[in-house]
Amino acid sequence: MGNMIVGIQTLNGIAIAVESPRLADPNVTPNVIALNQDTVLAYHETLSLGEHMVEAILRPKVDLGGDVVSIATQADNLFKGFVGQNQMTGPIGFLFFGYTPSGQGAMLGWFHAGDQTRTTRFFPFCMSRSCSLVGYLVKKLYTPDISLSKALELVAYVMTQSRIVLTGTTIMEYDQFNLAVFHPDQGFCWLSKGATESIVGRNEERDRALRIKCAELFIEGD
């Protein structure tokens, strides 16, 4: 299984959760890179192939001065050509996060596995791999007026619950769990480890509250 990335777009920014090793430099994770001030790229599944495609194709051949939509559109064609010529089976996926000059947020995805390539424009949420639980939880918990701080808590909750379901473990490895915000004016930034732990702690309280409130849903004579 590849690493997981979940993003939610709100009125005042994009909240992003990334499952990835935290490096010594807290502003860098190996599979999330800023292409310019308004565009961030995350790659997932086969990370070494993702890194190669970024360095060999994206950086030298794409005009990185454009906005997120322009960059993703150029990359789409070049990536398709690359996997076709080299008969790459992947799987490899890219998620582009960013803002257009008019301040419009955008999340675009490119995914290739086997002989299938998929390009997607996401709203209001995106995910790196197809797990129906992510869509279910976002559908249940997302409201169009959600604030950026609540969206951060939401992506963290979705990520944690998906990990628990997919891996069967209830242990959150903080070193492999990162949160970031992409603000239309202030750009992209990672949350500190302390802020991330604080959010995960709040979500644990939420989960406990959820269990307590649901404890009587399926009892005799209800």
Binding site: N27, S132, L133, G135, L137, C189, L210, I219
Partner: protein
């Protein structure tokens, strides 16, 4: 992979449950797929994934058990025979597809679940087989969720308790199927449900029984949604530095 198929364990028996949607092929989806059958008084069998060979596999197991009543009475000998029957049904289907010149996409899976009371061991048992190996996996204590199981597992983690009765677990199973169907288009259509208890054996729930459970669950759907929304719209402000 399509369908949600479940074998759930209550303190007093098992609940087998699935939807009836079959997807893929020339028609996008149909909701008439028969996905489980009664094998004998105490045992039921379920399938998911490829609808055609799935039905062939479960109906052939029922025929096999009927034709060898003396040998195939208890859970274990039936489970031992089942793997070969399922594999045979799948291989026949593969041969037919190849002869017809149709390519079988690599991701297509078929699975089978056998659940029931083993009177020889005095235990409720769940066993599972999936293509291409068809190796038996046994679930001596826990439950089994197959195919589109992610949402159901999340909900089960929150709503299940080990002391739950078969009656309540049937209602929980319907809840899991409906909640999954709201978000997963390959799950849907009329629900198929059966209970297996010591006193009653295998009992298939009729359509009106399932409709009654759906009616009782209406309040639960609303309450659960409300609880979920409330936990994320609490007023406590989040105060933390986003930067290092």
């Amino acid at each position: 992979m399509m369908t949600l198929a479940m074998a759930l364990r209550a303190y007093d028996g098992l609940v087998l449950a699935t939807d009836s949607r079959a997807t893929g092929g020339p028609r996008l989806s149909v909701d008439t797929s028969e996905k489980f059958l009664q094998v004998n008084r105490d045992i039921g069998v379920m399938t998911y994934g490829l609808a055609g060979p799935g039905y062939t596999g479960i109906s052939r197991l029922v025929e096999t058990v009927k034709s060898k009543r003396e040998e195939l009475t208890y859970f274990r000998p039936i489970a031992d025979a089942a793997g070969g029957v399922f594999r045979g049904a799948y291989n026949e289907w593969l041969d037919t597809e190849k002869q017809a010149g149709r390519e079988v996409p690599p991701g297509l899976t078929i699975g089978f679940i056998l659940g029931g009371y083993d009177s020889a061991a005095n235990q409720f048992k769940i066993s599972h087989w999936e293509s291409p190996e068809f190796r038996e996996r046994q679930f001596p204590d826990g439950d089994l969720l197959a195919a589109q199981w992610y949402i159901a597992r999340f909900l089960l983690n929150k709503l299940f308790y080990p002391e739950i009765s078969v009656e309540q677990l049937s209602e929980l199973a319907v809840f899991l199927l409906v909640e999954t169907a709201t978000s997963e288009p390959t799950v849907g259509g009329p629900l198929q449900l059966a209970t297996i208890t010591l006193s009653q054996g295998f009992q298939r729930l009729h359509e009106q029984d399932i409709n009654e459970i759906l009616r009782r669950n209406q309040k639960r759907f609303c309450l659960f949604r409300k609880v979920l929304l409330n936990i994320f719209t609490d007023e406590t402000p989040f105060v933390a530095s986003w930067r290092q």
